[in-house]
């Protein structure tokens, strides 16, 4: 029974949505609810959060009988690699400048693919970085420093 739940689409969808809904309701307890005439800031979050939690519950119950199998083959490498590359881009662009942020983004996301080839990626990183500088900084004129702190 347990094994069936763990690769069940409905189970995880239900769990995720229910968790978000409950969290919304809990957080919204700090906001004044108001009345239907004068709705406070907490009115909508509470109503919507509760609705979402109900839907989540529905999927959880449904997952007990009907099972749509979840493809458990998570592409963890791409998932983590791309996410980290993007976050690093965000962290670097203000502090280090446009070029370092781009290099990290392109190289990092290329490394997230299973078809990673070091030399090809190095070349690509160079080409794409030059391309982006020409297009975004010179042609479109976005006001970013190529290198910051220099």
């Amino acid at each position: 029974m347990k094994a069936r739940l763990l690769d069940n689409k409905d189970f995880w969808a239900g769990a995720l949505l229910a968790a978000i809904g409950v969290a919304a309701v809990v957080l919204a307890r700090d906001y004044p609810f108001g009345t239907s005439l004068r709705m406070g800031p907490g009115y909508f979050p509470t109503v919507l959060g509760a609705t979402l939690a109900l839907f989540g519950g529905f999927f959880l119950v449904r997952s007990l009988r009907a099972a749509e199998t979840l493809d458990t083959n998570w592409s963890l490498r791409a998932l983590i690699g791309l996410t980290v590359s993007l976050i690093l881009f965000g962290a670097l662009i203000d502090r280090a400048g446009f070029v370092p942020a781009l290099v990290v983004l392109i190289f990092g996301s290329a490394a997230s693919s299973t078809e990673f080839k070091f030399r090809e990626v190095l070349l690509l990183t160079a080409i794409l970085t030059v391309f982006a500088v020409v297009l975004f900084i010179w042609a479109i004129g976005l006001p970013y420093r190529l290198f910051a702190g220099f």
């Binding site: 999927f59 996410t83 881009f89 392109i106 976005l142």
Partner: protein
Amino acid sequence: MDVFNHLIFGFGVAISLQNLFYCLVGVTVGTLIGVLPGVGPLATIAMLLPITYNVSAVAALIMLAGIYYGAQYGGSTTAILVNLPGETSSVVTCIDGHQMARQGRAGAALAVAALGSFFAGTVSTLLIALFSPPLAKVGQSFGAPEYFSLMVLGLISAVVLAHGSVVKAVAMMVFGLLLGLVGTDGNTGGQRFTFGLITLADGIGFVPVAVGVFGVGEIIANLMAPEEKRSIVMEKISNLWPTMAEFRQAWPAVIRGTALGSILGVLPGGGATLSSFAAYVFEKKIAKDPSRFGRGAIEGVAGPESANNAGAQTSFIPMLTLGIPGNAVMALMIGALTIHGIQPGPQVMTERPTLFWGMVASMWIGNLMLVIINLPLIGIWVQLLKVPYRLLYLAILLFCAIGVYSVNNNAFEVVLTAMFGVLGYVFLKLGCEPAPMLLGFILGPMMEENLRRAMRISSGDPMIFINRPISLGLLIAAALLLIIVALPGVRSKREEAFQEN
């Protein structure tokens, strides 16, 4: 005729050098992403939206619209030559289009797809010009209760017409509405779900959400799948003209496809994809010999390809006249308007005639450009298909990151994009469609505002939605839709219709 005066005025706007240029850029980009599988108009428009910040609102909208209908042209090329849908709206074109290509009739299939799309584009441009002014007039008489009920109807039909599970679509929509609440509450100034972060006080930007879920999320999913072997039908596409017999078979299907697509495009939740599916099913149903379908029936290309272009264009009608997005692409268009400081709604047409009529006229010009871009230049686009995805996604990601950052020069939004990318991927895995979420996200704040206003008008009496005839009618329509889709017979039919491939 008023319509013609408006259109002439619009053409005057659209043929300015700048607007022609952005129209060309839009339709070229549209064709490009249409040809390439794995990049859809949603992600592209989201990515390029920030870049349009520097140009005029007319030019921006002309370009973004061009991407959407341009993608409908490009999508058929890949479907016919490679048997891969370049877009979800050309999934059904693969069935008969690729068979035609294998029989050496690729040229005829491509020509029928392009010319059918052009016919559909012309008709739907006229339809927008004809029906928008009266609809906007109706829209101007709407008060808060009518708008609220209209949005309810819009959300519900969007859910009904979405692929996959209806319940999941509703749940995703509610999640989207909830996301839309993040930020400062307009009425009381209270902060909601901001976790003390100043950047969240203005709410979650819709660019990070759209780019994250539709751009990054899909890249993660695509990287997992091994690259499929693309067998391009490459023998010289010599004859780009259908035979007389093919022509005679195709044109009624083009007209039917255009009519069906134009209607389905206007419906909330409609648009290109729904239109092409419906047109294919319809053509197969009314054919004298349905067994021809799947073996290279030209109607199976002509109908859906005309329908998806018609649907793509008429879906602009509710967005332009009422300020209500019928599908996720239109939600992005609303976003584009707000970025340029334009409040979407029925007043756009009267207050900004250059924007409205200029864009409508540009659609016809764009369609003309597309026929040229897609037929004589087809060889170039075919070459593009040789670019492997492992190179392509890097470029997409680069545009995503720079695009998102440049909206507000806010690095936090890039981090948000990454988070929504993960979320989008997880939802994809769990079979939850993210499109209704985006719709809810855009409509959420509008709905809350109108509901509150309605409640203040009626002193807190919810009967106001029932006492007003228009509002009541809209709510009844919404309820009927829900009942119909819940009927067991309709449910199985609906599943059948969406599984036609």
